[in-house]
Symmetry: C3
Subunit: 435 residues, 3 copies
């Protein structure tokens, strides 16, 4: 009941509202200057349709992507939010702050991503549509992953700052990886998970203080908070096929990405439960493993989901990641805390960082191994977007570009996290802003 640092909370009472108001007003001004509807969400769609020979309203991108968008939206707010409710003193705080930073982050993401990806040269405006909303949610996901490493250790204002810089860094690394390097990353193994996880871990490392151990007694779960966390797990698990297929190519691209993710996740469930059972003396399962490691397959299949990974390939990826992620919870998290001074509240190193890197590597290998035999001539060009200035690209080259993309994500995550964490306001234990 006692609040950890009472005097500081007066700050929160002033600083949090100030940040919310000022930043929200800034968003309104920037949206007023920059953001407009794109041709598919503008009332001129009816004329656009005629002039582009589009026969039906069903061809509007909305109908290709909106169901996936809603699934992704559920993952961001209920999935990530409830996954973090397992702390008995912090269930409401986790959901509430998740809500706050996602609400801010998606606005800032629309602007940042818009400047890099959808600035209309004709009028200098950013044109948004359903795909922009999905991309904004994706960007927010990387900040929520980072939040998992510092859960219960930072104030809401610090979270807002983390999100501001996280979104900014994300937009830059995404532009470099997808546009400059021309790597493909439909489900964001590199762009979202690798970046987000290392960003969060680096901040947690910078914020490490020995007396943090005093808060240990606050950390722990109770039975009901674990069932709440399972709501988060399941909504993430079920909708991950939508996450990985949300922005992949219309038609076979979305279809294949959903199948690959569905299969990979199924395999992960079996191996993470197996390792969890092996690791416990009594054969009981550890709830933390079930809540987290079962999701690793979705992360790891993110980059390659739209490629011809093949159903058995997806199962293999899921199989390996279930094992690695669960072992991470058993061995690596305690090691990192003890020797590397990195405290990782939700174990994002096991759920996002390692599977994200694996996903990047799997993507690079799958791309390098692509052939016209398997993909078809048109299919190959279509899947890897070998068009325009990239039309003479070879699959092996593409593999190299994928690997380069992974390195960029790692650098931005670690470097960005160190800078933001180092310059961050001194750590305060504010578990009790929500009670």
């Amino acid at each position: 009941e006692q609040c950890c640092d009472r005097p500081k909370n007066t700050n929160v009472r002033i600083s949090l509202p100030a940040v919310c108001f000022v930043w929200q007003i800034a968003m309104i001004i920037l949206f007023g200057i920059f953001i407009r509807y794109n041709e598919e969400s503008d009332t001129h769609w009816i004329e656009h349709k005629t002039s582009n020979n589009i026969s039906s309203n069903i061809e509007n991108d909305f109908y290709f992507r909106y169901p996936s968008f809603q699934d992704v939206h559920v993952m961001i707010f209920v999935g990530f939010g409830f996954l973090m409710t397992f702390l008995k003193r912090y269930s409401f705080g986790a959901v509430g702050f998740n809500f706050l930073i996602a609400g801010f982050g998606l606005q800032w993401a629309l602007l940042m991503q818009g400047w890099f990806h959808s600035l209309d040269p004709m009028d200098g405006k950013i044109k948004i549509g359903v795909e922009s909303m999905i991309n904004a949610d994706f960007c927010v996901a990387s900040c929520l992953i980072a939040y998992g490493a510092v859960l219960g250790k930072v104030s809401p204002v610090q979270l807002m700052v983390m999100t501001l810089f996280g979104v900014t860094l994300y937009a830059v690394e995404e532009y470099i990886i997808l546009s400059l390097i021309h790597a493909r990353d439909a489900g964001g193994s590199m762009v979202i998970h690798t970046f987000g996880a290392y960003y969060g871990l680096s901040i947690s490392w910078m914020l490490y203080r020995p007396n943090l151990d005093q808060s240990k007694h606050r950390i722990g779960s109770v039975y009901h908070s674990d069932v709440f966390a399972m709501i988060g797990t399941l909504f993430l698990w079920m909708f991950w096929p939508s996450f990985n297929s949300a922005i992949s190519d219309h038609g076979d691209g979305q279809h294949r990405a959903a199948i690959n993710t569905y299969l990979s996740l199924a395999a992960t469930v079996l191996t993470s439960i197996a390792i969890s059972s092996l690791s416990q003396k009594t054969g009981k399962l550890d709830m933390v493993h079930i809540q987290n490691a079962t999701l690793a397959g979705g992360v790891a299949v993110g980059t390659a989901a739209e490629f011809m990974l093949m159903p058995y390939g997806s199962l293999i990826v899921g199989f390996c990641c279930g094992i690695i992620s669960t072992l991470g919870y058993i061995y690596i998290t305690p090691f990192m805390e003890k020797y590397l001074k990195i405290h990782d509240t939700c174990g994002i190193h096991n759920l996002h960082a390692m599977p994200g890197v694996i996903g990047g590597i799997v993507g690079a290998i799958t791309a390098a191994a692509a052939s016209k035999d398997v993909y078809g001539t048109e299919g190959l060009a279509n899947t890897f977007d070998f068009m325009g200035k990239w039309k003479d690209m070879m699959p092996t080259q593409q593999g190299g570009h994928q690997a380069a993309g992974l390195c960029v994500a790692l650098c931005f995550g670690i470097g960005g996290g160190i800078i933001v964490g180092e310059s961050g306001v001194p750590i305060r234990l504010c578990v009790c802003v929500f009670s």
Copy 2:
């Protein structure tokens, strides 16, 4: 554990089953006489397709609206249901009665709305399809909003009566507002929220008894019931873009309504958290504000969501409503209870009534300000449905019609609620029918 009025419960044991059986049998008879499948859900679709030159099954309205329908359905049953679980003694009752009245209400709504909107003059039958199901869910939403004002104060039979009259009044006011006055109201700021909230508040006013205070000790939340309520909040928040876009025009209409709602809700989160934090001495956040006020932006953008409100316009609407709604919880709800004798259990005045009225006004202004420059000639006629007898309508006139629509919604809500509440069976405290 003790039930408040034991003798009356025998009544419930007889009256509730009687009402359920008799009304359900009446529904079956009326459905038998009146309700049939429309041409898109009938087996004659295959012939209809040929004779109307429809090239593909994907042109069936089902594929335009079914994903949104399912999202709306989740809002009605999980969203509204769990939002009301915050009372520690009444979690199950809130979800259960929500389930009961929604199950009845949607059947009655199909009939009432059908008589006004989709009666086929050829055979005197109502033809239903996916849009009818969405409209029925919308109609039910207005009754569930009203339920929020009287939660824990009325018996299930009284709730059924409230729903019966609520649906009836809704169908009439909807017909007047949308068809006679030709106002537009895609997300129902006026038709659903303003009407529903004032209907519920008026009933609560009529039912006010001083000894109601005795039940105060029953009202209050516990930590877990607050996390349950957050499930309701989040599903409402996430799926509100589907709510506001579910019945708007195919193509750009649905697309734009989803974007506007998405943005408005994001802004509301920041300002309601800011005001909540300011209002508390310790800077802690009040869970009630997070659970409710964060949704106000979705209500307020309902009418204008399909118009060219512009992304920054949506943010402004959300910004203001987050402030107003949270201030409502802090100042207006206690004032209403103390001086106006209106006890509003869930604070629907702050979440639905005020934002609904604001939404109506924003809609009127946005419509009045519409121009061919912004909308394009075809786009303007298409968005405001300036066709048939309304083809010479001007945007400024449309603005007037929108304002007239808001007045009708207010009159029906307040008037209907007073009549239904006044003639209602005497109040009984039946918190304990579910235990």
Copy 3:
């Protein structure tokens, strides 16, 4: 806290990981040999489109079925999972084991159903797409229904064995019913619910031991676990229209199936609440009835949902099933336990077995009563698939085939359950592997 049979748990620690690893490796090998993408999820789709004169990517089956698939997926993992959380000592175990067997079952189902339904004769491969994923989820549903009868009474390894055989039997009976007998069963009243429920009940019968009563004190619910169970109930209830329409015909078929299910479920809510209230001395409602019986209408309308059942027909089916299912919980479940030695933890006899059989009968009658007047000539052939070798089939004959299908489902369920249950490893009370 004390575990029921401590020594056996060492077995679990070895046997569960062993089963998970070995079976998952077997899946990878079999998927490698047999499973490939179908033409709509393969990169050759772009060529397939050209050669088949498909004008747009939106014609890909993905866009017809993916939103329904995601709803079904939520039903399997959150719906069935949380419906079984009502036991106070077993909430996490129910969700966790549900997760495990569904994750395994869907892989095995893709193989088994693939061998029977989608083996490409050209290359001997199974070609999968979004419809295969839905069918795999359906198949898993039958095993999760069976799990409801033995919840808390079997070990995880026994559950895996039950699932292995359950999926195998399902694929065979499905092939016999749908392909050989040419019965129609869009929502699986016969194929999924009747089979699954009798399979589980027979296993529970075989496993019955008198000393099972000793575990009675473990069985029971607490308030919060009942609210968790309501999450399962509502997600099943809301998404049942997607379940019954997920694999029905494109266009009017899916549209009509959704409407019929929506209506049937609404009627069930009223009658099950009525009977529940009547049955209690105080008029209070029994949470078990609200959690379960309200779903019976969705089961019973499964077979006939895609036929011209008519809206009032759907209401009648829902009306009757709400009554029968609730009475089942009051009278039949205790009777079965006392006299027939069948302990049915979740009451699946009332929720799946009886409504499933009713659904089969309703389907047979509706099919037999079909006429060209009501369906139209093309509509009749289309709805009942009177094509190819079945093109001279009459509706009355179809009714007979439907009845035959029901018998097959019953035989496979009861017979299969007895064989699997009889040869099963001796029962162990393993409520405490989780927790």
